[in-house]
Symmetry: C2
Subunit: 151 residues, 2 copies
């Protein structure tokens, strides 16, 4: 396992997710929906809830704290995105292979103990999943999404 | 790196993707679309093109061969899915950490040399991405998709 490669892969996805977010027109970002799903602002907001998990991976203390739940503009959401990226890069400095291999419950999402690597992987997978949904929203709005392979 | 854990993660996603595919009504599977995107049969078919990459990872010989491009029923697509899973499990037996770390071009998707692990990761990410789009199709059709966290 190589913590630098895991971070590089994730940050590649985060750059793509930010470009996806940027393509939403301000009003549709907060209102457009398909099949009673959440608008894309809520899906993007979910991608910003990663820090408590990362702090848990580093410290072994699992404390849930929702982030940025008062964001109401696209500009504020993009700022929240960048702030989260900065925190991610900072907290990641404390991530080690031993801590990723440690098997713990986070007690906010999972009461069952799992390797911490899986918790990180889950956030990456969740981001890809919801961003893919954002691609459909954009297509439905007549907007071409970014190329999936460009990170 | 642990090849068994990579396979376990992927197979968890593949089980979820198969359940997603199963939920599509036969006719909508091949016709329903949003924003001029491909119907879900084509997205699922893309998830079945993984074997040439896996054979390349094992052998170092990269030879592209499209699979199942004549599938026209949901039953046949599900059979193709299961056949692909069987091949994946079989070919994976030859995957080693050294081969995943090897830096090679595949010469069908990428002329640039990359670690073979990235090629595997790309297929997993691509599956999550397109399955997420399938979730939107299902919601638009009034069908509840499987829980994302159940693998």
């Amino acid at each position: 396992m190589n913590t630098a490669l895991i971070l590089e892969h994730w940050m590649g996805h985060r750059h793509l997710s930010r470009r996806t977010l940027e393509l939403f027109p301000e009003n549709q970002l907060f209102t457009f929906t398909i099949g009673n799903m959440r608008p894309y602002d809520k899906l993007a907001l979910e991608m910003l809830q990663i820090i408590p998990t990362l702090k848990g991976v580093v410290t072994g203390e699992w404390k849930w704290q929702p982030a940025f739940d008062d964001v109401t503009t696209k500009e504020a959401l993009l700022q929240a995105w960048d702030e989260t990226d900065s925190q991610l890069l900072e907290v990641w400095k404390g991530v080690t292979v031993d801590r990723l291999n440690a098997v713990e419950a986070d007690n906010f999402w999972m009461t069952e103990a799992t390797p911490n690597l899986w918790k990180v992987q889950y956030w990456v997978d969740n981001e890809i999943h919801h961003r893919g949904q954002g691609y459909v929203y954009l297509r439905a709005l007549g907007i071409e999404p970014p190329a999936f392979w460009e990170r």
